[in-house]
């Protein structure tokens, strides 16, 4: 064994490094606030005068049914978006795919540039209205952030790390799974979080192609001139979107690689 002289720098660096806690108490603020908003709306609805239309649409079972529909269509769309856009994003960052990179981004841009209501209606008209048409429309709409962030996340990995990894004898697959993807995780997750919030918000529109969701109650309130209905469902949709954003933030913190 050779013991080499210790560098003076080591003394300074040897002081214990503070571990950043991943879940801070501050994280509880958002859900508490959202719960308070729901409580206020519930109390207001509970003690307000309601006619038969309002009563029918504001029962717990009516709200739960639409909320469940909303969550189901949003989650299905988000899972499919991830399953589609993350692999595509990885594929187009491979060296050989460089020529098709602009086209992939164009595709994503197109999906987002077309107004979502028009896109969903087009798909319903062209195919059939209902749950799956809604899902496809939402996937097309939220692909861009996931695709773009996957590409950016992988491309921002320091080329020196890839060079070191290749030079050490990691295969291209090993470089992807052990270096590029772990380091891209925070950026990819940020894209997924954006997509999730977009999807939850946009899913209020799928009522127009009879796919249900919170939009049902919202639109019913407008059509029947019952502001209490629109307001209640609108608040629930907003709270759900903010909650989804918060959940995405928590997941981001939990999955962020250590040391970065």
């Amino acid at each position: 064994m050779t013991a080499l002289p210790q560098a003076p720098g080591q003394i300074a660096a040897a002081t214990p490094v503070r571990r950043r806690s991943r879940l801070t108490p501050g994280l509880a603020i958002r859900p508490l606030f959202l719960a308070a908003v729901i409580l206020v709306v519930w109390l207001w609805v509970h003690y307000a005068q309601q006619d038969s239309i309002e009563q029918r649409n504001l029962t717990h079972s009516a709200i739960e049914h639409r909320l469940a529909q909303h969550i189901k269509v949003s989650l299905t769309a988000t899972v499919l978006t991830i399953a589609f856009a993350v692999p595509l994003g990885i594929a187009v960052t491979r060296r050989r795919a460089r020529p098709i990179r602009p086209f992939a981004l164009l595709l994503g841009n197109l999906g987002q540039a077309i107004p979502s209501i028009g896109l969903i209606t087009l798909i319903a008209l062209w195919w059939q209205p209902g749950f799956w048409a809604a899902v496809i429309g939402l996937v097309a709409y939220s692909t861009l952030p996931v695709l773009r962030n996957t590409m950016v996340g992988i491309q921002q990995v320091d080329p020196a790390l890839i060079e070191a990894a290749r030079g050490m004898g990691l295969s291209r697959v090993a470089v992807l799974t052990r270096v590029e993807l772990p380091l891209a995780v925070p950026v990819i997750l940020a894209g997924i979080r954006t997509a999730l919030v977009l999807t939850v918000a946009t899913a209020t529109l799928v009522t127009f192609i009879s796919a249900g969701g919170l939009g049902d109650g919202l639109v019913a309130g407008i059509n029947l001139n019952r502001p209490m209905l629109s307001f209640t469902y609108g608040v629930i949709a907003a709270v759900l979107a903010l909650f989804a954003d918060w959940l995405g933030g928590v997941i981001e913190r939990l999955l962020r690689p250590q040391g970065v």
Binding site: M1, T2, A3, L4, P5, Q6, A7, G9, Q10, A12, A13, A14, V17, D158, A160, L161, E163, A164, A165, R166, G167, M168, G169, L170, S171, A174, R178, V179, P182, L183, P257, Q258, G259, V260
Partner: protein, 339 residues
């Protein structure tokens, strides 16, 4: 270093034969028919201006860049016949940017190649600790840290440890100490030379800094455009007899001083210590170089200096005339090694 954990401790001779890299769409090759032999267990420095093809030449050895034509033989085995990733795992690789993976602990960084080689967990653990000690970092303190918690110099020590993980016979180093401050660089250089005295790896070392080449190299290949070898010899032979003006310009000014800096005092014939000059002469420790003797003489305004050993015992004297004859003698005794 204990040998218990080493996979392959022998060093290997590298032979480049007519090695050429021609990038498509470029008029001249980046590397043009380079032929050289890198002897086993030596540090060979490729030195030249940026863009001369030295890094390209080095990267063709581990096939990060595939040669257009020519061969790389490592202990007689043609590298082109090997599976590229396995070939690269058998060659240590150190780069200027270090390239430690920020999301892995120091132990995981060092243990990555052993893991790919399917070493057992306990063997990797032992090896990581052994290597951390080898590069002067306390394993208990450092193995579970992340790279960003280390200084630049410490990171490059880990970079060297990582390259040594599976005890490769050959190491490629691309300006490994280039990004560190002068003091840290000097220390890393000295530590690495001490390490190499034990490890005896075959090392290809790329730099644009001629002084670093003089210090690190057993041999230096001075390169010109397209990786053309202008001179390939020991540092002392190159300093004594630069092949042409290009090499001379690379050496720059102070060539004779640099030569003195490469001659250890142990090579000089010491005169007996003159009894009448009691205490008035400057002293130099006997593990230094003739350049340090000259420096001591200039500082004290005397024409000789006393050589002492680490314990402080006087061993003899070196005079200005000795230095002059050493420089003159070096010219005739340094045989150019076959290029």
């Amino acid at each position: 270093m204990s040998e218990s954990n080493t996979a392959n401790s022998s060093c290997a001779t590298i032979v480049l034969e007519d090695l050429t890299k021609q990038y498509p769409g470029q008029a001249v090759p980046a590397v043009d028919h380079v032929t050289m032999e890198i002897p086993a267990g030596e540090i060979v420095v490729l030195v030249g201006p940026s863009g001369c093809g030295k890094t390209t030449t080095m990267k063709m050895i581990n096939r990060l860049i595939e040669p257009t034509s020519g061969r790389v033989l490592i202990d007689g085995v043609d590298a082109m016949t090997l599976e590229p990733d396995a070939h690269r795992r058998s060659i240590g690789y150190v780069i200027q940017q270090i390239g430690l993976f920020p999301h892995m602990t120091i132990a995981d960084n060092i243990g990555l190649v052993p893991r790919m080689e399917k070493w057992s967990r306990s063997r990797i653990h032992t090896r990581v600790d052994e290597l951390l000690e080898l590069v002067g970092l306390d394993p208990a303190d450092y193995r579970n840290r992340y790279p960003r918690q280390l200084s630049g110099g410490q990171q490059q020590r880990v970079g060297v440890a990582r390259a040594l993980a599976v005890d490769p016979p050959v190491m490629l180093m691309d300006e490994p100490f280039g990004a560190t401050d002068p003091i840290t660089r000097e220390r890393l250089q000295n530590e690495f030379l001490r390490l190499q005295r034990e490890l005896r790896k075959t090392i290809v070392f790329v730099t644009h800094d001629f002084d670093e080449a003089l210090k690190m190299g057993d041999r230096i290949a001075v390169l010109r455009d397209r990786s053309e070898i202008v001179q390939y010899d020991t540092p002392r032979a190159i300093l004594a007899a630069p092949a042409d003006d290009y090499v001379a310009s690379f050496i720059g000014s102070g060539g004779q001083l640099k030569r003195l800096g490469l001659i250890p005092i142990s090579e000089a014939t010491l005169h007996p210590y003159p009894a009448q000059a009691n205490g008035s002469l400057p002293t130099v420790v006997d593990d230094r170089t003739l350049r340090d003797c000259l420096d001591a003489m200039l500082a004290a305004g005397s024409e000789s200096t006393v050589v002492i050993n680490r314990a402080g015992d006087k061993r003899g004297c070196v005079t200005l005339a000795d230095l002059m004859s050493a420089v003159g003698a070096a010219e005739s005794t340094d045989q150019p090694a076959g290029a």
